[in-house]
Structures are given as C-alpha cells and as structure tokens.
C-alpha cells in the first residue's frame, strides 16, 4: 500500500525538479546576469593573458575527459574550474552566476534523465544487471503516465550525473573562454583552419551580438513591466511573468538587432572589406610563458585521466540521446 506521505514526497520531488532550474535561472541569474557571464571585460590576471587557442584546447580536452571517465571526475573538473573563476574580474560575482547556471543544468539534467531512462538501457550502459541495482525511491504507480520508471535507482542517478557533468564541464570552459578573450582573439585562432573571411566576419559579428541579445531582451522585458505587464500578480509568480514577457519580446528584439545590421554592413564596406583579396588579414598573437605552463597542465590532466581509466574509473558510457 502506498502511503499519503510517500505520495506527497513524490509530488514534491517532481515539482522540485521542474521548478528549481526555472527559479535559479530567472530568479538568481536573470537575463542581465547572462550578459555578464558572456561578455569580455578588460583585466589582467593569468586567464586573461592566456592565448585563446589554449582555452579552446582546454574545452576540447575536458569534454573528452568528462566523456571517457567516471562521473565524479567530470564533477571535480567542473567545480575546480568554477573555483578558478575567482581570479577573474569581479570573480565572486561570476562564480555565483556561473555556479547557479551549473546547478540548474545539473538538477535539470538529472531530473530529465534519471526517472525516465528505462532500466534495461541503464543496465546496458553501466554493464551491470538490473537485479543488482539499488532502489532509492519508489514512485506511485500512476507516475508511469509521466513516463517515469516505477523505481528510481542509484544507477539511473549515476547515469544522469554522467550526462550532466559532460555538459557542465563544457559550459564552464566555454564561458571562461568568452569572458577572458575578445571575439577577435577567439576567431583569429579559427582562421588557422582556412575558414573563408566572410564566415569569420559573420562569426565575429555573432560573438559580439550574443551579449547584446541579452541586453536588448532585458530592456524589452523591463519596458513591458514598466507598462504594467503582470503588475497585479503575486511575487512568487514573478519568474513566470518575466518568461511571458520574454516571449512577447522576441520579435521586437529581433527587429531591433537586425535593424542595426545595415549600419554594421555599411561601416565594414566603407573600410573596403572584401574589396580585394589581400585587404583583410589577421595578426596572430604569439605563444607566451603562461600558454606553455597551461599547456603543461592540460597534458598532466590527460595523463592523470588515462591513469584513472586504467585503474578502473573509466566509464565510456554510450550516450543514448
């Protein structure tokens, strides 16, 4: 027999999973917060002096490590890198914003996978028979309508953590790259791959526009609120009001940003962009002492992971989605 207390707890767990990411992102971070963690600011510490190509290598390597090793190695890398945000300009604030983003991704992914993933598939992925799984929680039978498995097992949670730390490791490294290098520095490293100039130009425009999108969104939402949108709604519904206002702001924001496109196009044309082949060129930034040190750290990380995998902490879980 399923007790009332268990039913209540099950529903609370269900609601926790869908509402927490939501409140974290719109309540704690906010749209203006996203702009902060996607914008380059001038500063001078170790990360700011590093070459962009080294940081791109960092993100490739840690995604590989998180994919091929057990979930807690991915967790250590994620939180270690997050802790190093302290050295950025306004470090605590950035750690706070990125930390909540990471937390919302972890909660969102775990709740998005762990209860749903068929035990047979988890068993295939972890190479453990279902009979050896540890049951953590038993859902009420009617939760199967939501697509839930009847039992939530520890193994499904490991499986979902494995997936989530692959994402978070990439996100922490990517944000670090965007916050400490100018768009031009990042794109220059791509030009080594012989990508045509127009594509590189589009990429620079795009990278510069991402923070501007958050900015215009924020302005547009605030204007809706000033005009009284959702003014009589209770406070705890505020994130939902913001979201509804955000949906209404999509087309105005898009038109606003695309209108500026003509000016950017004209200003590039007046500087004779693409007028003749040698007109556009790139200045490469040389490798410095910091870059060599950091590359050494990366090599060490790879070596340590290979050792960990050989010791038995590897988990080349086949991702099913």
């Amino acid at each position: 027999m399923y007790s009332i207390l268990d039913t209540v707890i099950s529903w609370l767990l269900f609601l926790f999973g869908i509402s927490i990411p939501f409140y974290l992102i719109l309540g704690a971070i906010g749209i203006a917060g996203f702009r902060e963690i996607t914008t380059y600011e001038k500063y001078d510490t170790f990360y700011y002096r590093l070459n962009a190509s080294v940081k791109i290598m960092l993100s490739i390597i840690i995604v590989l490590i998180a994919t091929f090793s057990i979930w807690w190695i991915g967790a250590i890398i994620t939180f270690g890198l997050l802790a190093s945000y302290k050295s950025l300009k306004n470090g605590w604030r950035k750690m706070y914003l990125a930390g909540f983003l990471i937390l919302s991704i972890i909660v969102g992914t775990v709740w998005g996978y762990a209860p749903y993933e068929p035990l047979s598939i988890v068993s295939m992925a972890l190479k453990t028979p279902v009979s050896k799984f540890t049951t953590v929680w038993t859902w009420p039978p009617y939760f199967s309508i939501l697509g839930y498995e009847h039992h939530l097992t520890l193994q499904s949670i490991y499986y979902s953590l494995q997936i989530s730390f692959r994402f978070t490791a990439a996100v922490v490294a990517s944000l670090l790259l965007v916050m400490t290098n100018t768009p031009a520095q990042i794109i220059k490293t791509l030009s080594k791959f012989k990508i045509p100039d127009p594509i590189i130009f589009s990429l620079v425009v795009a990278m510069k526009t991402v923070p501007a999108v958050f900015d215009s969104f924020d302005t547009s939402i605030k204007i809706s609120m000033m005009r009284g949108y959702g003014g009589n709604k209770p406070r705890f519904l505020r994130p939902f009001v913001v979201l509804a206002a955000a949906i209404g702001s999509i087309v105005p924001t898009m038109v606003h940003l695309l209108r500026g496109a003509k000016d950017i196009g004209i200003s590039a044309d007046t500087r004779a962009f693409r007028a003749y082949p040698s007109r556009t060129y790139y200045i490469m930034t040389p490798f410095k002492r910091e870059d060599y040190i950091f590359s050494g750290v990366l090599v060490m990380m790879v070596v340590m992971t290979v050792i960990a995998i050989m010791v038995g902490f590897g988990r080349a879980i086949p991702y099913l989605t």
Binding site: P198, I247, L258, F273
Partner: protein, 246 residues
C-alpha cells in the same frame, strides 16, 4: 582514444549503412558546388547579408542554450516529445534570416556559423567538424533548396509593387504562400535528427545504441510541431522582412 572525440564506430547494430550517408552527403555537396559555380557562390552576398547571418546565429545560440531549455521545463512531461522550444526557436530565427537574405547558401552558412558559435559558448569543440557538415548539409541545405525552388522569393515577393500585383493574375496571397513554404521546410526539418543523428552520427561519434522504435516515434512526434512552427515562423519571417527590406 580517438580523434577529437569521434569514435568512428560504423558497426553498431541497426545503424544506417555508412555508404548511404556518405552518398547523401556527396550528392548534397556536389549539388552545392555545382550550384555555387553557376550562381557565383558567396560573391553574390553583400556585406550586410553576412551581418544578418551573424546576428541570426547569435540569436539562435541565446535561444537554444539559455531560453529554450527554460521554456521546455514548463511543458507538461507527456508533451515534451512534441514540443521542443529550443528547436522551434531555431526554426523561427533561421527563417527570418533566410527571408532577409534570400540567396541560396544562406541556410548552410547560417547553420555552420551557429554550430561553431554553439561550440564556443556551450559544447566545446568535441566532435567537430562532423556537426558543422551534418547540420549545414541537412537543415541548411533544405532552406537553400527552398530558396532555389522559389527563385529567391522565399517567404513572399518583397520588391516594390509586389503587394499590389499579388491580388491580380491568380497569384497566391503572400501570407498563405509564406505559411505553406514554412510548413514544407518545417516538415523536412523533422527528418535529419532521427534518421541522420540517432541512426548514424550518434553511434558514429559516441557509440550510442540504435533503437529503431525510438527513432520512428521521435520522427512521427516531431512532424506536427515542426509543421505548426514552420507556419508561424514563415509568417514571422514575412512580417520582419517586410519591415526591414525597404
């Protein structure tokens, strides 16, 4: 370990034979090269077109990685298979950009830039360059084919006087035409993810398991949402491009 996270596994049970995939991409690439030789390729693009594409990619990144996942949270669990806001946002933004630029190549270029940008902001570069080619030559190519078929007037003719002549001579109402075009492209966009990704690139890159029941169900489930959002996106694209192309 393998090259940049690509396992290059072509022996997962149930996978689409690699010959078919290679043939598709060779034909697609061949068509693109042939057509760009004929039409002048990127030389026909103005600088402002590249700016449109860049802004569109930035918007798609913000939508797909920061806003879309939030919206997906409020969809009731049983419906998540039908409604993917992240993907719908991509449809809207890319249709708007395609409606503004209206030259074949815009679809592929937009998808390629969106992918590289997504790597910079979110995914890291693991698995590249497979994703850039896969998405550009499926989603992007479908848009470009539509532009080619409609001879540049993707979501309605925007030249001066076209509105007046739309009623005469049996030509279709522009909103209706935009909606239909959007629906058709939206429908074609239901194909790549289940058939190319789940049945080939997923196993190819990460060795994931191929489950044809899951693939077929996700294909059928994607169709209605994609068509509805294709129509909406077509109408938005018509509206935005009327405001901007003057």
């Amino acid at each position: 370990m393998s090259f940049n996270g690509i396992k290059a596994d072509i022996s997962v049970p149930g996978m689409i034979p690699w010959e078919i995939v290679v043939a598709y991409f060779l034909i697609a690439l061949g068509f693109v090269i042939f057509y760009s030789k004929k039409s002048g390729g990127l030389k026909g693009f103005k600088t402002v077109d590249f700016v449109y594409i860049g802004i569109g990619a930035a918007f798609t990144v913000v939508w797909e990685f920061f806003v879309g996942p939030l919206l997906d949270k409020i969809v009731p669990p049983g419906l998540t298979a039908f409604i993917g806001f992240g993907f719908f946002g991509r449809i809207v933004v890319l249709f708007v950009v395609a409606g503004l630029v209206r030259k074949p190549g815009v679809g592929m270029l937009s998808l390629a830039i969106f992918d590289i940008l997504g790597d910079i902001f979110h995914y890291g570069f693991s698995g590249e360059p497979v994703f850039v080619f896969y998405e550009a030559l499926t989603y992007g190519l479908f848009i470009d084919l539509a532009i080619t078929v409609r001879r540049g007037n993707l979501f309605g003719d925007l030249r001066a006087g076209s509105k007046a002549s739309a009623g005469k001579g049996g030509r279709m109402n522009p909103s209706l035409a935009a909606g239909i075009t959007g629906a058709i492209i939206g429908f074609t966009w239901a194909f790549p993810d289940p058939f190319f990704y789940s049945a080939f690139f997923g196993p190819f890159l990460y060795g994931s398991i191929v489950n044809w029941q899951k693939i077929l169900i996700s294909f059928y489930e994607a169709i209605p949402g994609n068509i509805i959002f294709g129509i909406i996106a077509g109408l938005i694209a018509l509206r935005v491009s009327r405001v901007l192309v003057q």
